[in-house]
């Protein structure tokens, strides 16, 4: 049966995924701060409390550590919680439960349990909320064996990957860039999944590979259009999952284009791009490189309040253009 395709926003797509998950599986429920009548700080849960009731759309106290622990305990005993952090920055309050408990419980118990918890993290800068509400901490969690960490960039993926996360037996951390919530795209009705651990080639090209995450995928695609007019043919790889990373897709792309630019919003040092670069340097793709790998990441600073400073903190389209031009024309 064909599923009708509509234009939905990224936030609507997530909401639809959560509704479908709750309709089809009694074990699924939502927890988080102000996700009930308020509808969530970014209106992602919206009116779900009216459809599913306060027992399945649970407003928690402002207790990130305890709330995350409750979600872990519920998951390990047979439920399928989706826990919303109001801002990804607040993961810092719950790192104990995420890193020591959710990620390690299966391993510590020798495989006796699984922890099918989903945690959602509104992330990223660009909202003027300054240093404690704008971070991109996905690399922190990407460093932890036992977790899966995803960053969907489109409404289609946001819905399909969330449904894949709910069906996944292990803890899945979803980083949702706040500036993506209002972006629109085609989303089929009904149930479908997008696999965790598979990157997507958003644009094929011959001259240069840009590996980007989350909102940077869109900036890379914008840049690619301009570069096309200049005769530079860019391939854009949307990483989508940072743990486990789809090495194969990235390696194949770099073998084809011989040039790699990594673009990500998290702090550059020890970030997602560092891992992608090192992975390529260790792979057979290294011999295909015609120029050093270039990374564009977040500046080595907290996110500032001033809008011009804030923009300057993370890679923008002109930064990508400049880096791509230099990379495409340079050689070893």
């Amino acid at each position: 049966m064909d599923q009708a395709v509509r234009e939905l926003s990224y936030a609507q797509a997530i909401q639809e995924a959560m509704a479908i998950a709750m309709e089809t599986d009694e074990r699924v429920f939502l927890m988080g701060e102000d996700i009930g009548v308020y509808g969530g700080a970014f209106q992602v849960t919206g009116d779900l409390v009216e459809r599913f009731g306060a027992d399945r759309v649970i407003d928690t106290p402002i207790s990130e550590l305890g709330g995350a622990g409750v979600a872990v305990g519920a998951a390990v005993t047979g439920l399928r919680p989706i826990f919303e952090f109001q801002f990804s920055d607040f993961a810092t309050l719950a790192m104990e439960q995420i890193v020591n408990q959710a990620a390690k419980m299966r391993y510590m118990l020798g495989g006796a349990v699984s922890v099918p918890v989903v945690m959602r993290f509104p992330a990223g800068s660009g909202t003027g909320a300054a240093a404690q509400h704008s971070q991109s901490l996905e690399a922190w969690l990407g460093h932890v064996p036992g977790l899966k960490v995803i960053q969907p960039s489109t409404p289609y993926d946001a819905k399909g990957m969330l449904l894949a996360a709910v069906a996944d037996p292990d803890p899945v951390m979803i980083f949702e860039h706040k500036l993506l919530y209002k972006t629109k795209g085609p989303v089929p009705e009904g149930y479908y999944t997008v696999p965790i651990g598979k990157a997507a080639i958003r644009r094929e090209g011959r001259d240069l590979t840009i590996v980007a995450t989350s909102i940077m995928v869109h900036k890379a695609l914008d840049a690619a259009k301009t570069l096309e007019a200049e005769g530079i043919d860019v391939e854009v790889v949307d990483l989508r999952t940072i743990r486990p990373m789809d090495k194969e897709t990235v390696i194949e792309s770099v073998k084809k284009t011989s040039r790699l630019l990594c673009v990500y919003e998290g702090v550059k040092t020890l970030g997602v791009g560092a891992e992608v670069s090192a992975m390529i340097a260790e792979s057979e793709a290294f011999d295909f490189l015609d120029a050093p790998i270039v990374r564009l990441g977040g500046a080595e600073t907290p996110i500032p309040y001033n809008p011009e400073l804030e923009k300057a903190t993370v890679p923008q389209v002109p930064d990508i253009l400049a880096a791509a031009r230099s990379l495409a024309t340079g050689s070893r």
Partner: protein, 344 residues
Amino acid sequence: MTVAQAKTKDLPAGANLPFIYREYSAERLKQALHKMYLIRQFEEGAEESYTRGLIHGTMHLSIGQEASAMGICMPLTNDDQITSTHRGHGHCIAKGAEVSKMFAEFFGKTTGYCRGRGGSMHIADVTTGNLGANGIVGGGIPIAVGAALTAKRLKSDRVVISFFGDGANNEGAFHEALNMASLWKLPVIFVCENNGYGMSTSMARSTAVPNVADRAAAYAMPGVIVDGNVLSEVAEASHEAVRRARAGEGPTLIESKTYRHRGHSKSDRNRYRTKEEIEDWMTNRDPIVRYENELMEFGIIDQAGVEAIREAVAKEIADGIEFAKASPSPEIRNLERYVYTETV
């Protein structure tokens, strides 16, 4: 033997008996002594194996706290669940685990409860409802609340116990978890085994209230203090808390005041407490000695019966250690197994 028979046949008529003698059969009371000895001898066996270099790492012994673990678990069924602590061997045994698989775990073998991946600090047996010991102080408390949320949502009759020490009562997780459990009237029981010291730091030096149970008032739940070295007192408090939880009346905080005879872990030089203090608890308040004397006083067991229990336990321990020694170690090639759920 029924409770009524125990009362009429085995016990002195008209005795004003403590709770457990009114509640349990003589058989179950003897089993409780058996398990308390099993906990004690398991830990002594583990300690000896550690000293002989057969077990590596570290361990936290609960010798002296056996009545606390046993008393709390007496009213529980196999379906009820617990979260435990770094000092969790007693909880694991009291909830029903087999000592042979525990020894195997301590020896790092594939036959251990955690297939050699967890060791002493993460000992668990989900088949008897033990969701695991925890290396993080207070780490298991919110998890227990989550398990209780599952019990309530699935309308099972299950209750969840969260064991923790006095040190955990100053962790944020404790406060956040108690608040949510009370707010949502969840079937969970918080059991603080207050052995007087969080590592070296005493309650007086770490905690602004004299009793951990005082903190229950802040979360609108009963706070009950019991002598953790008197089995009947602990079991009675647990019974009432379990009844409340199963009836949907919400959580209880039980503070079981007890003492660990050994140091915090194997690195402890015991500089923060006096020899006299330790001596006093060991000679005058040992929970096993107290319980055993009570059983003999009430005519439930005689010296020969006690000897039989000790011998049976000693054999169980010796067999457990032999099982652990003879078991295979995990293969290095399986290092990354169990990080994620294997999909077939």
